[in-house]
Symmetry: C2
Subunit: 393 residues, 2 copies
């Protein structure tokens, strides 16, 4: 059996990957421009937002049909979305200038921030010219991609196979709002020194996104810029799909949960574990309706074991349900079992003690079949409103 070890290094932990972040003047004085560089050129896969107004960097990637690249340039504070053809041409212009200074091949851009403003091309070019492609400052890179995030999000794992071979996978992400369960939902960058072809990268990304980045919700809004990239540079001349698949899931789930925990103003991480649905698809619908319900999320913020709102959201999800088959529990405290209300003052107090914790699960068994899905969400409180009422200013 293979072994996994958490290590330092973020996206630069795998062999041949470099990264850093600088201030290019888009933000007043904090880091706002990052790069990931791979030597040698890596295969690259990507999944993008379901939003119909895909931002310019996503359109650029698809127009160029990029399958191999050695360079991702990431800016925060400006989404380069709803900027039309100019937004795409700005990316070509940036890379055209940079290619004279840096050994970049099929460069990829990724942006996050305010929608609708043209990209500050000059600042970005000047900032990128100062990059040291030999740097392994992964922490600066993960800081430079933050918007309303309160902390950088990164992880790296070394995998040791029984035959003595080893490889590494690293990742970083940003995201704290506009996080929606129906799509990829934020920016994430994952690197590995394994040798994996691009179709396989895309397949594994899609599969793993379903139960990680697509299972989380902060506010139910879907951004124009959500992207997850996966680069494999083949410094290790082999591929072990079984261990990689599991490691990729571990990394993507970790980053996804880091985003929920950092949900704007969030104090609690809640898992809605839905079982007994007619199908996995039904369970997913119920889990996502729960993790998107404002009334459920404000009750969690208020530490109120108001299971009626959970029942309300289950009933509103549109899937087949039956009162007599439903069971609802906060961790191991059942409050409603197959049509029977178990909510005594004693049970309420026990449920309240669970709600006071910063991390817990709410179980909803529909009692109708074998379908199951788990979604992750956070509470919504005053801080969410404060942050989003004045994001621009």
């Amino acid at each position: 059996m293979f072994k996994q070890f958490f290590i330092n290094g973020g996206v630069t932990a795998p062999d041949g990957f470099f990264a850093d972040g600088v201030n290019s003047g888009i933000k007043d004085d904090s880091l706002d421009l990052a790069f990931i560089y791979s030597d040698p050129i890596a295969n690259i896969g990507a999944v993008f937002t379901s939003n119909k107004f895909q931002a310019s960097p996503l359109q650029h990637f698809q127009r160029e049909k990029i399958e191999k690249s050695n360079f991702i340039l990431i800016n925060s504070k400006n989404a380069n979305a709803m900027t039309g053809e100019r937004g795409i041409q700005d990316i070509y212009s940036i890379f055209s200038t940079l290619s004279k200074e840096l050994p970049i091949y099929n460069p990829v851009m990724s942006s996050t921030g305010v929608i609708g403003s043209p990209l500050p091309v000059e600042k970005i070019v000047e900032g990128a010219k100062s990059f040291d492609l030999n740097s392994k400052n992964h922490l600066n890179a993960s800081k430079a991609i933050m918007t309303t995030d309160t902390r950088p999000k990164e992880i790296a794992v070394e995998v040791q196979l029984p035959d003595g071979r080893s490889y590494r996978v690293g990742g970083m992400a940003k995201g704290a709002g506009m996080i929606n369960p129906s799509m990829a939902t934020m920016l994430a960058f994952i690197t590995t020194d394994l040798k994996i072809d691009t179709p396989t990268l895309n397949r594994l990304l899609r599969e793993t996104t379903k139960t990680t980045f697509n299972a989380i919700s902060v506010d139910g809004d879907t951004s124009t810029n959500d992207s997850v990239f996966l680069m494999a540079n083949g410094k290790k001349d082999f591929f072990d799909e079984v261990s990689f698949r599991e490691t990729l899931h571990l990394i993507m789930k970790h980053l996804a949960l880091e985003i929920v925990k950092d949900g704007e103003g969030a104090k609690k991480l809640v898992a809605f574990r839905v079982t007994g649905a007619k199908s996995d698809r039904d369970a997913e619908k119920v889990a996502k309706t729960l993790s998107n319900s404002l009334l459920v999320k404000t009750a969690i913020f208020g530490e109120d074991p108001n299971w009626g709102r959970i029942a309300m959201a289950i009933g509103a999800s549109g899937v087949e349900v039956c009162e007599k088959n439903l069971t609802i529990a906060y961790e191991d405290i059942e409050v409603y079992r197959r049509g029977e209300n178990l909510f005594t003052p004693e049970v309420e107090e026990k449920a309240y003690q669970i709600l006071r914790k910063s991390q817990f699960s709410i179980y909803c068994d529909l009692g109708l079949g074998d379908g199951e899905f788990t979604s992750y969400t956070c509470d919504i409180g005053y801080e969410y409103v404060r942050i989003n009422a004045d994001y621009r200013t």
Copy 2:
């Protein structure tokens, strides 16, 4: 052409309708139990929530296949939802006792409040025994049905036809949260002294609900109890569909907008007027995605002309859109026109002045066809969180 006059009297304005509200002890000291009584027996139509866990009163109404009634009993503070067969039997028990005291025929129950607790049958019976069926205290009735509402919501209109005949329509409603655009969304009671058969009542209710109660959103949650009732007692021995249809629309729209304006903590009433969609259905999807977007609603709360979030929500609605065809305007201030960002500091200031108002429209023209729909919503701010974090307590 017929004439419409606003008059006093709420649901008791039409001839033969009576109403009142009392405190029965479900709430500590405010009104919590109301009735509407009609002499003679009226035809009654109803539309109910799309939530799969319909509350007991809704199940009772459908099990009894009620088409005529002279009595609606309404309690607040307890939803009688998720209470199973017992919840329905409690209603039978209440009416069985009351029928010995009051001349009620096919009595109808309607409830709103916390989900999951059994109905306080004794209190309700005792409270109802004290009803004076000759009372026309419509204001007390409209107060007794309130939960988190900050004010009663009622209206009455007298219609005068060119030939000298006249009739009246009255209405009252409650609702301030759990208001969702995909269904009926609150409790509303409408009375008229016209003579209208039950199938026609049901047809007109369904038609009119689409552009009134189904076009509003506070938080996107769908309650287990939402109901709209329409009673016609035939005291006036005629029916004029043209004028009634328009008057019913006026009354239902007024009550729907009163609910949005009273949205928990809401300070602003916003209309999203979507035009140029491929179909009315598409326009409806876009309008409802906009009025349910937390990021859009918190930007409105913050008086931030952040049109990028509006674009984000349009793109996320799932319908066909094209950046180059889209136009977004705050009232008459265009901020984005057919792919072009018009957002200068001067335009931003003008848009901000519109956002400062308590009531305004945001226009989104998709530029693709003739489909249109208008949805109504409110801002979401600190008060919403405060109210919903401690509703039970």
